[in-house]
C-alpha cells in the first residue's frame, strides 16, 4: 500500500526542532531509507507515521486514506525499535503472537502463524525460549517477526541495526531486506548510517533541520548530490570552495580546474566535490586537472589504500583511494568534479 506524507509539519513545544512542510511518497513495496544527522527530524517522522507522536499539520495518507487522526493502536503499523522492545515476560512465540492475540485470533491459529514467521526469520526452534536467552541479533529478528505478524500496512524500522555488533549488522541487513521484499512491505527505514541506507534502500531521503534535502535512488544520491549537506553526509568526499572563473573552468584559489560549469555565470561562488575513487594517482604530466603535492595520512584497507593528498595552498587535503597512493601528483577528470551550488 502506498504511503504518502503531504506537507507535514510538526513542532516540538519550546524548540525549533521538528519537521517543516515535508512531503514524501513511499510506493507499495518500496523501501525508503530516511537518513540525516541527529536532530534532523528523521525519528520524529517515523513517530508521526506510526501515530506514537501526534499533533502535526498536513496529511499522512495510506492507500488514499488520511490516517492523521487514527490513534496509534488502530493504525496497523509494524514497528521495529532500535532497543528491540520485546516483552520480557512473554516467550519468543508469545511475543510474535501478541498482536494477533489483541486481534482475538484463536490460540491455535495465532501460534501457527507466529511459528511460521519465526521460521521465516530463521528462529523456528527458539519459540519456547525466554527473550533474555537470545542475542541482540536474534531479538531483533523476533521483533521483525512480531511486526510482520499483524500484516502491517507499512513497516517502520527505527534504527533497527544500530544496537548490534558490526559482524551481525551486515548479515541482518541483507536478511531484513530479503524479508521486506518477500512480503512486498512498504517500508520506512530510519538510520543514521548512510552505508546501511545505500545498501538496503530503493530510495534514500536525506533530512536536515526538519527539511527534506533530497530523495533519490542510492546511486543518484551518491553520484549526484544536490547540496553540500547531502554530499557531506553520504559517502566520503573532498569538498572545497570554488568560483566559476570562465565557462568550463573553476578556480579553487590554489589551482584552476576544468569542470562542467553548465549555465553558471562567471564569478559564481560554489563548492566542488570529488569522491576518493575518482582521484587518479600519479597521472602522466600531460593529464588535465593535474595537481602536484605529497601524500599525508594513509589507511590500509586491503585492496585499496585510502590516503590524504596535500596540495600546497589547499585548505584541506584531498581524500583519495587507490591500490598505490600517489607519490607526487593527482588528477581528477572534469566529469568527476561535482559542483554544488548550496
Amino acid at each position: 500500500m502506498n504511503l504518502a506524507l503531504d506537507n507535514v509539519s510538526y513542532h516540538y513545544p519550546g524548540s525549533t526542532q521538528g519537521l517543516h512542510e515535508l512531503s514524501l511518497n513511499v510506493c507499495a513495496g518500496e523501501l525508503v531509507a530516511v537518513i540525516g544527522p541527529s536532530g534532523s527530524g528523521k525519528s520524529t517522522l517515523l513517530k508521526l507515521v506510526s501515530g506514537l507522536e501526534t499533533g502535526h499539520t498536513g496529511r499522512i495518507v495510506f492507500g488514499g486514506q488520511d490516517m492523521s487522526s487514527t490513534p496509534v493502536h488502530q493504525r496497523r503499523m509494524g514497528m521495529v525499535f532500535q532497543s528491540y522492545a520485546l516483552f520480557p515476560h512473554l516467550s519468543v512465540l508469545d511475543n510474535v503472537a501478541y498482536g494477533l492475540k489483541l486481534r482475538k485470533v484463536p490460540v491455535a491459529e495465532r501460534h501457527r502463524r507466529a511459528q511460521e514467521l519465526l521460521g521465516i526469520v530463521g528462529l523456528a526452534s527458539y519459540a519456547k525460549r525466554d527473550i533474555g536467552q537470545l542475542s541482540g541479533g536474534q531479538q531483533q529478528r523476533v521483533a521483525l517477526a512480531r511486526a510482520l505478524a499483524i500484516d502491517p500496512l507499512a513497516l517502520l524500522l527505527d534504527e533497527p541495526l544500530s544496537a548490534l555488533d558490526a559482524s551481525v549488522r551486515g548479515h541482518l541487513r541483507d536478511e531484513i531486506r530479503a524479508i521486506q521484499q518477500r512480503f512486498n512491505a512498504t517500508t520506512l527505514l530510519v538510520t543514521h548510517d548512510q552505508e546501511e541506507a545505500l545498501v538496503m534502500a530503493d530510495r534514500v531521503a536525506m533530512l536536515k533541520d526538519g527539511r527534506l534535502l533530497q530523495i533519490a535512488t542510492p546511486r543518484e544520491i551518491y553520484q549526484q548530490p544536490t547540496s553540500r549537506a547531502v554530499a557531506e553526509f553520504v559517502g566520503l568526499s573532498t569538498i572545497l570552495p570554488a568560483r566559476v572563473s570562465a565557462p568550463g573552468r573553476i578556480d579553487l584559489g590554489f589551482a584552476e580546474l576544468f569542470a562542467d560549469t553548465g549555465a553558471r555565470a562567471v564569478g559564481t561562488g560554489l563548492h566542488a566535490m570529488v569522491r576518493p575513487e575518482h582521484i587518479q594517482a600519479d597521472p602522466p604530466p600531460t593529464c588535465v586537472n593535474r595537481l602536484q603535492g605529497h601524500p599525508g595520512a594513509q589507511r590500509y584497507l586491503g585492496a585499496l589504500t585510502r590516503y590524504d593528498f596535500e596540495v600546497p595552498g589547499a585548505s584541506k587535503p584531498f581524500l583519495a583511494e587507490s591500490a598505490v597512493p600517489a607519490a607526487r601528483a593527482i588528477a581528477v577528470a572534469p566529469e568527476h568534479i561535482r559542483l554544488l551550488d548550496h
Partner: protein, 275 residues
C-alpha cells in the same frame, strides 16, 4: 627482569596483608552485629538470667509462655492486620502513583518523583507521629489510638519504598518503550497497562510488598506513639515485656527476628529470581 619479579612479590605480600586487615575488620563487625542476636537466642532458651554473663539452665518455657499469653497473641494479630492492610492499600496507591510519576517525569515532573524518593530520608518518622498526635487528638478527628489511624500511618511510612521499587523497575525495563511497541501492535492504553506493564512489574511489586510488610511488622517509633493499649503491635508490646522477665522478652524478640528475617529472605529471593 629480576627487579620486576621482586617488586611483584612485594606487591603480592602487601595484597595479602591488606586482605587480612579487611578480613579482621569484617570479623569484628560480624561479631558486633551477631552477638546481640546470639545473646537473645541464648537468653530465650535460658532459665534464669540475673547479674550473670550467661543465663543458667535450659528451658523452652518462655516460648510456651508467649504461646499462652493472650496479649502477645493479640499483638501478633494486630501487627499482621496492620501489615497486610498496609500492603493492600500500598498496592492500590503505589501502582498508579509510580506509573504516573514515570510518565510524568518525562514531561518535567521529575521533581515530584524526587520528593517521593527522598521523603523517607528527609522526613523522620517521628515527625509524622507527632503530626498525627496533634491532628487526631482533637474533637474534630478523635482517632488517636485507633487501628485505622495506625494503618494509615504505616501506609504513609512505607508508600515511598514501594513506589521507589516500582519506579526503579519501570525505568530499568524501559517500560515506556514496551508500551509504545504494544501500542503499534494494536494495544489500547488499558491493554498496554494490563497486558504489559502489570505483568512486567509483578516481581518488583511482590518484593516491594514483602519489604513493606517487613518494615511495618518491625516499625516501633510511630506505632509506640499512635497505638492504644487495645491494639498494640508486636514491637510495642516487646518493649513493655523487657521490663518484666528477660527470658520471656528474648523469646518474643527472637520470634520477631525470625519473622522479619524470613520476609527479608523471601524478598531478596524474589528479586534474584527475576530473569
Amino acid at each position: 627482569m629480576a627487579n620486576s619479579s621482586v617488586s611483584g612479590k612485594y606487591a603480592g605480600n602487601l595484597d595479602i596483608g591488606n586482605h587480612n586487615v579487611i578480613r579482621g575488620i569484617s570479623l569484628i563487625y560480624g561479631v558486633y552485629l551477631l552477638l546481640p542476636i546470639v545473646l537473645l537466642m541464648v537468653g530465650s532458651l535460658g532459665g534464669s538470667w540475673t547479674n550473670t554473663l550467661l543465663p543458667t539452665g535450659v528451658t523452652g518455657q518462655w516460648y510456651l509462655d508467649i504461646w499462652h499469653d493472650t496479649s502477645f497473641r493479640k499483638a501478633f494479630w494486630s501487627s499482621l492486620v496492620v501489615a497486610l492492610a498496609a500492603c493492600a492499600i500500598n498496592t492500590v496507591l503505589a501502582l498508579p502513583l509510580a506509573y504516573s510519576l514515570y510518565h510524568g517525569a518525562r514531561r518535567g515532573g521529575a521533581l515530584a518523583a524526587r520528593i517521593v524518593s527522598a521523603m523517607p530520608v528527609a522526613v523522620p518518622a517521628i515527625t509524622l507521629a507527632f503530626g498525627y498526635m496533634v491532628v487526631f487528638n482533637t474533637d474534630l478527628a478523635p482517632w488517636l489510638g485507633t487501628l485505622p489511624l495506625l494503618i494509615a500511618a504505616h501506609v504513609t511510612l512505607t508508600l515511598p519504598y514501594l513506589t521507589n521499587t516500582l519506579l526503579a523497575d519501570l525505568r530499568h525495563l524501559d517500560l515506556g518503550r514496551l508500551e509504545q511497541a504494544a501500542a503499534t501492535l494494536g494495544a489500547s492504553g488499558w491493554q498496554q497497562f494490563a497486558g504489559i506493564v502489570l505483568p512486567s512489574l509483578k516481581q518488583s511489586l511482590l518484593s516491594g510488598l514483602v519489604m513493606v510488610a517487613a518494615i511495618s511488622v518491625g516499625e516501633f517509633g510511630v506505632s509506640n506513639l499512635l497505638t492504644s493499649f487495645q491494639n498494640r503491635t508486636f514491637p510495642v508490646l516487646l518493649l513493655q515485656a523487657f521490663y518484666g522477665a528477660t527470658g520471656f522478652a528474648c523469646a518474643a524478640t527472637v520470634i520477631l527476628l525470625i519473622l522479619a528475617g524470613a520476609s527479608a529472605l523471601l524478598s531478596s529471593s524474589l528479586i534474584k529470581a527475576r530473569p
